[in-house]
Structure formats: structure tokens, C-alpha cells
């Protein structure tokens, strides 16, 4: 198991390296770079000014050198400077991380706590009206754009509370955090909960068809014991793996949700950085997202290994 872990870590590093190269190149494919934009927006006319900007930002160096200087910086914790605000990138990113992390965490908790039980119920009561209703619900959850759901929720807030929730000051206690982020978390987590519900349902149905369920019944166990003690733990295994994949999607959903609800988080910041052609910021943000996704996947895989005895004790 240790060799597997080491191999995965190495693979992770290689992947992240690949991502860094990809994002670096991608942002420099198209001509019309930041120098032009800064040049035009500052109203400068003299071409030598533009050259100065280019030299200042190190844009005249050969590409591999630019890449190396960035990578070097990253490894030392220096992420460069924002083109727009001219502050260090890390100063811009770090304060925004906690709120996004909390939002993501809350959304994931919501998705699991809603998705798993509903999926089990749907499976146990297969083909009943309740099952159909839940399936339609989950399918709509997958079909709705999450920003639309967010907008509808905002509409409802306006209609019932007369006001839109505003996220400016960091609240005091953890309960205040949860209360503040509950609605956007539900908005972004809805889709994930629908996916988890569908997966739990199909996994459960698959498991309930298996031989050991019949054996459990033959031992005289009640239906509840068979479902919740025997079947469920088997059915949840694929769900664990999916959480890793779903987290990646969640990050995408956060981008639009933070935009709709005006939450000053990392995800919304990415869009702003893109709009401003703030390449150092975009680069680092994308790298950050990649690191998060890859790390979460690694953790999920490890968790799965711990939970499935067939892998833990493979002879």
C-alpha cells in the first residue's frame, strides 16, 4: 500500500507539472497580450512606453525562461504580481480562500446528506410514486443551470424577505457562517446532491440484486437490517469515488454561484482576473484549482482504500 501511495504522489506531481505547462502556454498563444491592454487603457501613445511595460513585466524574455521564473517563484511561495492591482498575487488569493472553502465544504455536506438518504429511499421503494417523484427531482437538479437556480433563489429572497443577502463582513461564530452561506451552498450543492442521489440509487439497486442480500434474508434478518446494515455499506463504495470527481465539478459550479450571490471568493475572482487579462493571477488561480482537485482525488482514493477491505487486505 505504501508503494501505491508513493506512486500516486509522484503521478500527482507530474500531473500538476503538466497542468502548469499547459496553462502557461495557453495564456500566451494568442497575441494581443496584457501589454497592449495596459498600454491602450493608460492612453499612452509612445511605443517606447509599451516596450518599457514589456520589459518591466519580463515579457521580452524567451518563453521557457518566463515559465521557469514563474515555476521557481511558485515553489518558493512567490506567485508574482497581479497585473491589475500590482499587489502580490498571494496577497490577493489567500484572503479569498476561506470563504470559498467554507462554501464548498457546506455544499458537499448538503449534497451528501440530501443525496444519500434520498437515493436509498428511492431504491428501496423502487417503482413507487415516491421513487418516480424523486427521480424527476434529481433529473431536474441535473438539468438546471446552477446559476439559474441561484437567480431563482434570489428572486424568492426578494419576494419573501424583500432583500438580497449580502456578503461583506466576516461573521463572528461558526453558526453565523453556516447561516450566511446556507443558501448559496444549497444552490451550488443541489446539482451534486442530484448526482449523488442517482448514483446511490443505482448502486443500491445493483447491490440488492446480489447473492449476499439473499443470504442475509435467509438468516432471518429484518428488511431494515438487510438494507441498512448489509446492503448500504456496499452501495456507498462507488459513491465515495464519485465525491472526488464531483468536487471538480463543484469548483466549476462555485464560479457561477459566487458570481450570482456576489460572494468575494476565489472562484469569482478567477472570472474577474480573466476579464482583466490579469495573466499572473489567472495562472496561479488555475494552478490552485488544479492542486485542490488533484489533492481531493488523492484523499478520496485513500479513503476508498481504507474502507474497502478487499483492497486493504489484498493477499
Amino acid at each position: 500500500m505504501l508503494t501505491y501511495l508513493i506512486r500516486r504522489l509522484l503521478l500527482m506531481i507530474v500531473t500538476l507539472f503538466g497542468v502548469s505547462v499547459a496553462i502557461f502556454l495557453l495564456l500566451r498563444i494568442v497575441p494581443g497580450n496584457i501589454a497592449d491592454i495596459l498600454f491602450d487603457s493608460a492612453g499612452m501613445i509612445d511605443p517606447s512606453e509599451k516596450q518599457k511595460i514589456i520589459a518591466d513585466l519580463g515579457l521580452d524574455l524567451p518563453l521557457p525562461l518566463q515559465y521557469w521564473s514563474w515555476l521557481n517563484g511558485v515553489l518558493h511561495g512567490e506567485l508574482g504580481f497581479s497585473y491589475v492591482s500590482e499587489k502580490p498575487v498571494i496577497d490577493e488569493i489567500l484572503p479569498r480562500i476561506p470563504i470559498t472553502a467554507r462554501l464548498a465544504g457546506l455544499a458537499l455536506v448538503f449534497a451528501i446528506c440530501a443525496g444519500v438518504p434520498l437515493g436509498v429511499i428511492s431504491a428501496v421503494k423502487q417503482n413507487t410514486k415516491l421513487d418516480y417523484a424523486l427521480r424527476v427531482l434529481s433529473l431536474s437538479g441535473l438539468s438546471m443551470p446552477s446559476f439559474w437556480l441561484g437567480l431563482l433563489i434570489l428572486m424568492a429572497c426578494v419576494r419573501w424577505f424583500g432583500t438580497i443577502p449580502i456578503y461583506d463582513r466576516a461573521p463572528a461564530s461558526i453558526w453565523a457562517w453556516i447561516a450566511m452561506l446556507a443558501i448559496p451552498a444549497a444552490s451550488v450543492g443541489f446539482r451534486s446532491s442530484a448526482l449523488i442521489m442517482r448514483l446511490t440509487r443505482s448502486s443500491m439497486l445493483e447491490i440488492l440484486r446480489q447473492d449476499f442480500v439473499r443470504t442475509a434474508k435467509s438468516k432471518g434478518l429484518s428488511d431494515n437490517a438487510v438494507t441498512y446494515v448489509h446492503a448500504l455499506r456496499n452501495a456507498l463504495l462507488p459513491v465515495i469515488t464519485t465525491i472526488g470527481v464531483e468536487t471538480a465539478f463543484l469548483m466549476g459550479g462555485l464560479i457561477v454561484t459566487e458570481t450570482v450571490f456576489n460572494i468575494p471568493g476565489v472562484a469569482r475572482f478567477l472570472v474577474e482576473a480573466i476579464r482583466w487579462r490579469d495573466y499572473p493571477m489567472v495562472q496561479n488561480l488555475v494552478m490552485f484549482i488544479a492542486v485542490v482537485v488533484v489533492t481531493v482525488n488523492l484523499i478520496v482514493d485513500l479513503l476508498y482504500m481504507l474502507v474497502d477491505p478487499r483492497i486493504r487486505y489484498s493477499e
Binding site: 507530474v14 503538466g18 497542468v19 495557453l26 439559474w148 437567480l151
Partner: protein, 286 residues
């Protein structure tokens, strides 16, 4: 009396239609939208680009069935023409992405070796980023345009399709009937075309239909963020961004109808995709 096996094509269709009513419903929804998109100019009651300051933010009524936006343009007509754009982008991206992904997957399954390893690594790199993030970055670097939006949505599709097709090809090559074919002296080419390819088509179709819904959503998200389909093309996603929080109070129809359109199309494609998957999955057959 033993069961009669449906023979003709139409018998097959009606047999499957009765077994999967939801899939049929999904198919009908899709067809309605596709037809509306193709015949948009004929179907739309008004000109979607016609601005009319006097009708700004008109509520739904006899003239503007779904209301009018802040520039006095008819929402319904913009929705219908937007179908053309959104569906074209989604369809284009799905076909391109699935097509390239399928080719890559087939190549990996057959060539193997260093090519396979390389593609595997590249796939992992691509899958380290969420779909939307990758699409965002691509449009950011290429610049917002209709063509670039299609490219930006197609590219992130490639790794997942390639992965599925590749594992499919690999497992098919191990199948007993392929080995039997080889044992009778069939060349690899013939095996590939007669045995392997038809059996990858089914999962490819299911995958592509499933991806269709996600591409529609991705395009909507990109346009919502202002980084997708630009003016003058009407796009459902962009219709929602133009109406964001500002008009939530005053003109709810600007929020409801475009989002409803997106949800309905994706819902239809999901229903269809689910039914296709159930129908084509051999394990599900009684």
C-alpha cells in the same frame, strides 16, 4: 404462446417506445427544440433583434408573449433564435469533442505502447481541471467568439470520451468472440471494423447524448459570465446575465423563461440519454 420477436424496424421502434416512455418524451422535447431552432425565423413571432425603447421591460402579454427585455426585444423570439445558437454550439461541440475523443480512444486501444501512455498522461492533466474552468481559460486565451466557444467546450470533452472508448476497445479485444475471429484467420482490420467498431458505437452514442446536456449547460454558463457567445448572437445564457440581480425584482420573466428553456432542453436530452443507456445496456434486457 411464445413471445413474438419484433422484426421490422418500425416494430422495433414501437416496441422500444413502449418500454421507455420517458425516453420518448425526452426525444420529443429535443425534436421540438431542434425544429424550433431550424425554423426559427418562421416560428418566432417577432424580430429578436428589433429594439423598441417604448416596450422596455414589458410584462408578458398578447404582443410579447413572454415579455420584453430592457431594450424592448421580445423574449420569446429571442428564446427561439437563441435555441439555434445554443443548440448549434452544443451539438457542434459534442460532435467535435466526441469524434476526436473516439478517434483518440480507438488509437490508444489499438496502437498502445508509448502513444497510449502519453495520451493517458495528457488525459490526466486535462481532467485535473473542472470542465468550466478549462473552457473559461480556453475562451480567455482565444478570445470570445462563436467559433472559439465551440472549441472551448469541445476540448474538455475529449479526455472523458477517449477514456471510455479506450477501455471499451481494450475489453472488446479480449472478448472470446474476437479471439475466435482471430483464430479463424480474420485480419485485425476486419475484426476492428466488423466486431469492435459496432460495439463501441453504442456506448459512444450514450456518452454523446449524456455529454450534450453538459455542453448546453457549459455554454450557458460561459455566456452567463460574459465569456461565451458574444453579441449579436442571442444566447440563453447571456440573456440571463443581462438580466441578473438587477431585474430580479422588476421583471422576473427575464429570469424565468431563458432558464426554463435551458433546463427543458437538458432535461429532454437527459431523459433520452437515460433511456438509450438502459436500452443499449445488455445487462438490462430481461
Amino acid at each position: 404462446m411464445s413471445a413474438t420477436v419484433p422484426h421490422s424496424f418500425w416494430n422495433n421502434v414501437s416496441y422500444n417506445a413502449r418500454r421507455y416512455p420517458l425516453g420518448v418524451a425526452g426525444g420529443i422535447i429535443m425534436i421540438v427544440f431542434v425544429l424550433a431552432a431550424i425554423f426559427a425565423s418562421a416560428v418566432a413571432p417577432l424580430d429578436p433583434f428589433n429594439t423598441n425603447a417604448k416596450a422596455s421591460l414589458a410584462a408578458p402579454g398578447p404582443v410579447y408573449l413572454f415579455g420584453a427585455d430592457m431594450m424592448g426585444r421580445d423574449v420569446l423570439s429571442r428564446l427561439i433564435h437563441g435555441a439555434r445558437v445554443s443548440l448549434a454550439v452544443a451539438l457542434g461541440a459534442t460532435i467535435i469533442g466526441s469524434g476526436i475523443g473516439c478517434a483518440v480512444g480507438l488509437a490508444c486501444g489499438y496502437i498502445g505502447g508509448w502513444f497510449d501512455l502519453l495520451v493517458q498522461r495528457v488525459t490526466e492533466v486535462m481532467q485535473a481541471l473542472p470542465l468550466l474552468v478549462m473552457a473559461l481559460v480556453i475562451t480567455a486565451s482565444l478570445g470570445p467568439s462563436l467559433r472559439n466557444t465551440i472549441i472551448a467546450i469541445a476540448i474538455p470533452l475529449i479526455p472523458s470520451v477517449a477514456r471510455v472508448i479506450r477501455s471499451n476497445v481494450l475489453s472488446l479485444r479480449e472478448m472470446p468472440y474476437v479471439e475466435a475471429a482471430k483464430a479463424t484467420g480474420m485480419s485485425e482490420w476486419r475484426i476492428a471494423i466488423i466486431h469492435v467498431l459496432p460495439n463501441t458505437l453504442a456506448p459512444l452514442i450514450v456518452l454523446a447524448t449524456a455529454q450534450l446536456g453538459s455542453t448546453i449547460l457549459t455554454e450557458a454558463s460561459l455566456s452567463f459570465l460574459g465569456l461565451g457567445v458574444p453579441e449579436p448572437y442571442p444566447s440563453w445564457g447571456r440573456m440571463l446575465s443581462e438580466s441578473a440581480a438587477e431585474y430580479v425584482r422588476t421583471a422576473p420573466w427575464l429570469v424565468i423563461y431563458p432558464g426554463l428553456a435551458i433546463s427543458l432542453v437538458v432535461f429532454g436530452s437527459n431523459l433520452l440519454g437515460d433511456a438509450l443507456r438502459d436500452a443499449l445496456d445488455p445487462r438490462q434486457r430481461d
